[in-house]
Amino acid sequence: MKTKLLLAYGIFAVATALMTAPSMAQDYPTKAVRILVTFPPGGSSDVVARALSVPLQKALGQPVVVDNKPGAGGTIAAGEINRAAPDGYNLLMSNTTPISLAPFMLSPQPYDSIKGFTHVALVATVPDVVMVHPSVTAKTMPELIEWIKAQNKKVFFGSGGVGSIGHILGETFKKETGLNIEHVGYKGSAPMITDLMAGRLSFSFDTLPQNVPHMKAEKLRPIAVTSRTRSHVAPDIPTVVEAGFPALVSENFIGVSAPAGLPPAVLAKLHAAIQQSMDDPTFVTRLNDLGLTVRKMSQPAFVDFVQKQVEGWVEPVKASGAKLN
């Protein structure tokens, strides 16, 4: 009796699974898709998510809802997607901080940045920029190093916060050159830029786009961008590779990721829908206006890209000594 009952349950379970599972994959999406943003409204990844949601709704034929769940370097939102059901209705606006940096500053590490997700598609990349207060006479990286040496005292650099890309880049720069420089942490870029413009800091590493107006107004002077190729936003600024500091290359990315184990049919459909959205001319213009570079990549290539990113950051993060708990 007992076995029969169990068998019946088993058949029932398999039958329901058969009934629902394939329909889910093939008909996806049948309801609203949610994209979780790891930062508060207003940041680059938030604006990208909201801009992407417009063409993506058309491509998927279902509403796309953008939610913000900030906190702990984005690991709260990423952790939630890591634990969510891999049904394609819970997506993450993944980016460098919660994937490549923050989880390695937490112990225990909250999730596996590579195996813990299905990385669906790359959307855009954005470089950092090395910039100085106008009173610093240097115009190139070698001149900056000379200038710092000539000060014969500690020189301060700022970043948007401990464990931010700018902080890690600064610590890498310190390690590479052995200069007498010290990091000053802030809560976000805005107050840091204020102190840099006032000359209380000498130089800093920060995301390029929002600083372009300050450079145009000559309140700040750019030294180099941290991408491999020059940025379309400010093509006059040389790259760190040109300046001879390939170790400072950092391609901050913004992409879409889902929980691990996303069914292949859903993955294919989602990837195609995102690619299609990225062809939308208004979307491209908007991202270009934000100073981001729209970048298409096949799904396997994106997984590879994320893996290289994570591996590349592990050492500098450790060396920086930054911890989040």
Binding site: P40, P41, G42, G43, D46, V47, R50, A51, S53, V54, V66, D67, N68, K69, P70, G71, A72, G73, T75, I76, G79, M105, L106, P110, K154, F156, G161, V162, G163, E182, V184, G185, Y186, K187, G188, A190, P191, T194, D195, M197, A198, R200, P209, Q210, V212, P213, H214, K216, A217, K219, T282, T285, R286, D289, L290, G291, A322, K323, L324, N325
Partner: protein, 501 residues
């Protein structure tokens, strides 16, 4: 001459039918989210961001700005009616505004807040139009040492705020400072007192504490004896200020406007001091300081004006330097960038239509707010006549939704409940929550600025007194502290307290 031509351009832009419409939509939505406890302008603006993509940049910014200062306006409504401040700026309004409401003068308190906000908003708009570029330079003069000293002054002023026992007020400030320690340390990145909970890694949210300590604690206290409450609210007298009232509020409004405008320019958190500072000044200047905390109309007029003036002038660093003074401004910069406009030092000349259009729209928006809000007062006042057993569940639901919407997590809702209980206990012990909130608001930036000042000076604490601005602020704080602690004054102060009791 130049200013006149610019203002003409601004009026031309802002008075276009579509821009008037977006301005109205903005201030209306702002008032609505301001009135709903906990739901702030950030969530609203974030949700509306995709809509602005399709609008001309001027219209988009006019609407978003309207939401921002409209919310400042609306926030005072719940503070006055149900003792529920949704933002740090309306904490002070709740002090005397709620007392006024309990005395049946809710309409007068709301009208005073609306009129004060209108006058302050209009005056601050003129200030933005005339002096925005030079004032922006002033913002850069404020370094970590100056901000630290400003916060010290604010903290000392907070003791003046308390109407009860001095010892209790000091203790509550310390509790607030301690709560402010929770979260990631800005200098080292080490998490402090987060008990391993990632939700605490960024600290406790202001709204969570305010909703709990004020809103929920008030509800629990009210439920002790409902009959008593209904009796107090029964009679609602005159809505509009009388000639006598006007005499009392004009001075506070003028001083609040000046204070708020000045503090609003500082992007490093000056605006949050505006209403606190104004309240302290009015209490110090008043011939009847014992009325403060017991429904003094000056205690509503001054802070409300200061807070609105500060909201207007906090646009200066954003519009002239591209530096956002708060998260709402950061969101607006995002909205502009997506339209291909990068706010920065060049914006006034490169985007003259945008700059002047938005500045003029702020004044128009303030007119809209006055027209919108004065007739609504009658409606709001009737709201508190709703039987409490129907009203309080609604308030609780709105609080929970508002707190949840902050970062989409139920953790904050539970935390709010915890602070509600704590607030009730403090209430029973005769400890006011306002000094606690002030300590909580001022503590973290104070520590951050002090440590940054010390890092940059390589450990030389003397930097706090060698910088003239910083030294001046500390001197004012010292004088203020002396007047609070001087025995004769303290005695008088405690006598008043006993008399009130």
């Amino acid at each position: 001459m130049d200013v006149l031509a610019n203002l003409a351009l601004g009026f031309q832009t802002a008075m276009s039918l579509s821009n008037l419409f977006y301005c109205l939509v903005g201030v209306f939505l702002g008032t609505a989210v301001g009135v709903l406890p906990g739901i702030g302008p950030i969530a609203t603006i974030a949700m509306l961001l995709p809509i602005t993509f399709g609008l001309p940049p001027v219209s988009a910014l006019i609407m978003l700005s309207g939401i921002y200062y409209g919310a400042q306006y609306g926030g005072s409504t719940t503070a006055i009616l149900i003792n529920l401040p949704g933002e740090s700026s309306s904490v002070v309004t709740a002090l005397d505004g709620y007392k006024m409401a309990r005395q049946g003068r809710a309409g007068l308190a709301l009208a005073t807040a609306a009129i004060g906000s209108f006058i302050a908003g209009s005056a601050a708009t003129v200030l933005v139009a005339l002096f925005a570029p030079p004032l922006a330079e002033l913002a850069l003069r404020f370094g970590p040492a100056e901000y630290f000293s400003l916060m010290v002054l604010g903290l000392v002023a907070s003791i003046v705020l308390a109407s009860g026992s001095l010892l209790h007020a000091l203790a509550m400030v310390v509790v607030g400072l301690t709560l402010g320690l929770v979260g990631t340390d800005v200098n080292s990145g080490v998490a402090r007192y987060s008990m391993g909970l990632p939700q605490l890694a960024d600290g406790i949210g202001f709204v969570v504490i305010a909703m709990g300590m004020f809103g929920l604690a008030e509800i629990i206290a009210n439920l002790e004896d409902e009959s008593q409450r209904s009796a107090i609210i029964k009679s609602v007298t005159g809505l509009m200020p009388s000639r006598e009232d006007w005499k009392r509020i004009l001075g506070p409004i003028a001083r609040g406007t000046v204070l708020g405008s000045a503090l609003g320019i500082l992007p490093g958190g000056g605006a949050l001091l505006a209403s606190f500072a104004s309240y302290s000044v009015e209490k110090k200047l008043s011939k009847t300081p014992e009325q403060f905390g017991n429904g003094a109309i000056e205690g509503v007029a001054g802070p409300e004006s200061a807070n609105n003036a500060g909201a207007q002038t906090s646009f200066i660093p954003m519009l002239t330097l591209g530096i956002p003074a708060n998260p709402v401004m950061a969101l607006m910069i995002g909205a502009l960038m997506i339209q291909g406009i990068q706010p920065g030092p060049g914006i006034i000349t490169e985007q003259a239509t945008l700059f002047w259009g938005v500045v003029v729209s702020m004044w128009i928006g303030n007119v809209f707010l006055l027209i919108l809000n004065l007739p609504l007062i009658g409606l709001w006042v009737r709201m508190i006549a709703v039987p409490y057993h129907l009203l309080f569940p609604a308030i609780m639901v709105f609080c929970a939704i508002g707190v949840f919407s902050l970062s989409n997590t139920t953790f904050d809702v539970y935390l709010m409940a915890l602070f509600g209980l704590l607030g009730y206990v403090f209430r029973k012990l005769g400890c006011e929550p306002t000094p606690l909130l002030l300590g909580f608001v001022l503590g973290p930036p104070m520590e951050e600025f002090l440590r940054r000042a010390l890092v940059l000076s390589e450990g030389q604490a003397s930097v706090l007194v060698t910088e003239p601005l910083s030294a001046g602020l500390l001197a004012v704080a010292a004088v203020l502290l002396a007047t609070v602690l001087l025995p004769s004054i303290r005695k008088k102060r405690e006598e008043t307290f006993v008399a009130e009791d």
